[in-house]
Symmetry: C2
Subunit: 158 residues, 2 copies
Amino acid sequence: MTRWLNEDEQQAWRAYLGATRLVFDQLDRELQRDAGMPHAYYEILVRLSEAPDRALRMSALADRSQSSRSRLSHAVSRLEENDWVRRESCPDDKRGQIARLTDAGFEALAAAAPGHVEGVRSHVFDPLTPEQVRQLHTINQTLLDALAQPADTTAVPG
Amino acid sequence: MTRWLNEDEQQAWRAYLGATRLVFDQLDRELQRDAGMPHAYYEILVRLSEAPDRALRMSALADRSQSSRSRLSHAVSRLEENDWVRRESCPDDKRGQIARLTDAGFEALAAAAPGHVEGVRSHVFDPLTPEQVRQLHTINQTLLDALAQPADTTAVPG
DNA sequence: AGCATTATGTTGAGTCCTCAACATTGTCTG
DNA sequence: CAGACAATGTTGAGGACTCAACATAATGCT
């Protein structure tokens, strides 16, 4: 019953696993070495920097940085220790917490960004042709759409 | 001086980040839930199962499962607790250790595989066209080649 | 209003990973 | 052969993540 992978699929899958792991490990190591933060934290700082007033509700930040609430909560606690982010209480929802990027946080991000972007370029964009970049974009958008939809399309009653 | 990402590249990169994270988180969660092991351990068992006598030197296993020696050492210790893998000393190299897949380990892998493959299919291969799978394969092979080569091609003395 | 349900965010325990340091053994060179 | 060097694998500390449980506050229903 199992739809096993055939030879081509097997190879494609292993290339996917290998390349993805290599790219992320490499970027993560560079970021940790050069900026003292893991990639997940960089992402959080980026999302905050893009938000109005560089502040977001925890839940909104969790959505945008593709993080669980728990992970984000731990991460923001850590970021607070560096004084890169500060928590504020939310005026209109007493449950809410607002994470705000500090000036120091913004500077840390600004310092980290050029090196990181250079890494992304050299490890991902430079090796690929413009056409491949377009293909990869379409492919990833497709995967995102497929996975973001929790809908079960395999069994529609009727 | 920084070669920042333009709008298209930015979008492509975020789709890549998002899709990759979603795919791996999903597969990892499924594997943990259904088979009680993280994906990295699944990989290790797979590589061992493919090896002659289902055994490999630690260093060879580390290479094939794209793992650091340290990570592998910790992981094999953990796998030994489940009696899925056993360590043996290496006859021709006293530094060496051989990791051998036990019968129980093979059975655990056999039990985990169908569900995992189904996950890979449904989250990755099913949403994509055959053409896209080919494209993705080529792209990942390119990235692998680029990153596996530590060669610095930016500055050749001359 | 009263009560159950849902949403928000945090916490702690446990797991996995990284990094640097280390002990041991093999290899190479003078 | 001796001594430097390289390779193998392990260890421990510390960081990041997951999961389940929780406290608190908002919402919805009757």
